[in-house]
Amino acid sequence: MNRETITVIKVRDVLLVTMPADPDDATISALQEKTLEAMEQHEVKGLILDLSKVDTLDSYFARTVTETGKMVGLMGGETIIAGMRPAVAITATQLGLNLGITQTALSVDEGLNLIGRNWRGFHK
């Protein structure tokens, strides 16, 4: 089986979670497990969910992203979605994806800036 999988990397005090281009349902449910597991293992400010490779989004994926963001929030971390493509953003709007407290960034790089800023309390 040659399925593209999620990678979870801890960089300093941030988790970088990268989604494959076309994740299937199993991959999507693995996103939540892996992320929460990593949150428990490492002491981090939060996570950056890199969606720059993703080119399709369905309601299950959208819901999982929202839920995971909330769960990570409950565990004391912030979630930043980075690199969502225009086409995916339009689909997300049509699906009524609600980000709640989850923030977004144009790229992982920008996301890292954002996490740093928020943590130091510059914003809010």
């Binding site: 690199g83 493509r85 225009p86 953003a89 339009i90 709007t93 977004t104 144009l106 790229s107």
Partner: protein, 286 residues
């Protein structure tokens, strides 16, 4: 050709019947017309006469094409769909058939043709054949295509102009009615430009939008949402008193969107979002 001319002249001079002379002159006209390829078809559509202009246009010599069906000039799809039979049928019924479309030359190349088929009847009214006039309008077609393409591009630019006003700040000055189609274009183009330029802030200025209704507002809210998904934010500027009143009266909730009355105020918000500070420069002499 010159021989024919000479012949007709000498015959005319000898006082041959006027009918013969006029038919000869007609043939000369047909042969010398440059842009009009005139051909004759029998009632079934078989080519019975060919002209130099037709040869120039379509590439066949008269001995190659006389006796062949005129569907030879049509695309395989057209002749398979029975277009040629339909055309003759209409010409026979109504006296005349006109069409514009792609036709094929001998070498297989296409040209855009205007075709007029006229039914020719004998004294009893029986169709004895068809006259077919073909004009090559490829150049006109090409010019039209070009104009259409250009106007499409201009229209797209004018519909949703996206301008980078500062490093990381885009401006969309909207002028005119914002309908569903335009809102869709706005969303697509703005998202595209935001990701292309890596701009975290977009100013959408609605000073030039005459009115906002529930639907327009809904579109704007959706656009702002989509922009946030890609990791940027929108400041909606140009909210005039009339628009503010309408929005409140219609009960449209724009509380999730940063709005300002003027573009300059919006620009200041954008600068703040980017952690940029604008201040008067200290006088050099100071």
């Amino acid at each position: 050709m010159s021989e024919a001319t000479k012949g007709s002249r000498s015959r005319a001079a000898k006082g041959t019947s006027s009918k013969e002379t006029s038919s000869e002159m007609l043939r000369l006209l047909v042969d010398n017309l440059k842009d009009y390829a005139i051909t004759m078809l029998d009632p079934k559509g078989t080519v019975t006469s060919w002209s130099p202009a037709a040869e120039r246009l379509k590439g066949y010599r008269s001995n190659e094409i006389i006796g062949k069906h005129f569907s030879t000039f049509y695309t395989p799809e057209d002749s398979a769909s029975g277009k040629t039979e339909r055309e003759l049928e209409i010409a026979a019924r109504e006296g005349r058939f006109e069409d514009e479309g792609w036709r094929i030359r001998k070498d297989g190349s296409k040209f855009w043709a205007n075709v007029i088929i006229t039914a020719l009847r004998d004294e009893s009214g029986k169709v004895i054949g068809f006259g077919k006039v073909t004009r090559d309008l490829s150049e006109r077609k090409q010019a039209e295509e070009q104009i259409r393409q250009q106007s499409r591009e201009i229209l797209e630019m004018a519909t949703v102009p996206v301008v980078q006003v500062w490093e990381g700040i885009l401006l969309v000055p909207l002028i005119g009615v914002l309908d569903s189609e335009r809102s869709q274009q706005l969303m697509e183009r703005l998202l595209e430009r935001i990701t292309e330029t890596g701009s975290p802030v977009a100013l959408v200025d609605i000073t030039g939008v005459p009115a906002i209704d529930t639907k327009t507002a809904q579109h704007l809210v959706e656009t702002v949402k989509a922009v946030r998904f890609v990791g940027a934010d929108v400041v909606l500027t140009g909210v005039r008193p009339a628009i503010a009143q309408t929005l409140v009266h219609l009960g449209i909730d724009l509380s999730t969107v940063t709005t300002r009355s003027s573009l300059s105020a919006g620009l200041r918000v954008a600068f703040a979002m980017m952690d940029l500070h604008v201040g008067a420069a200290q006088a050099v002499a100071h």
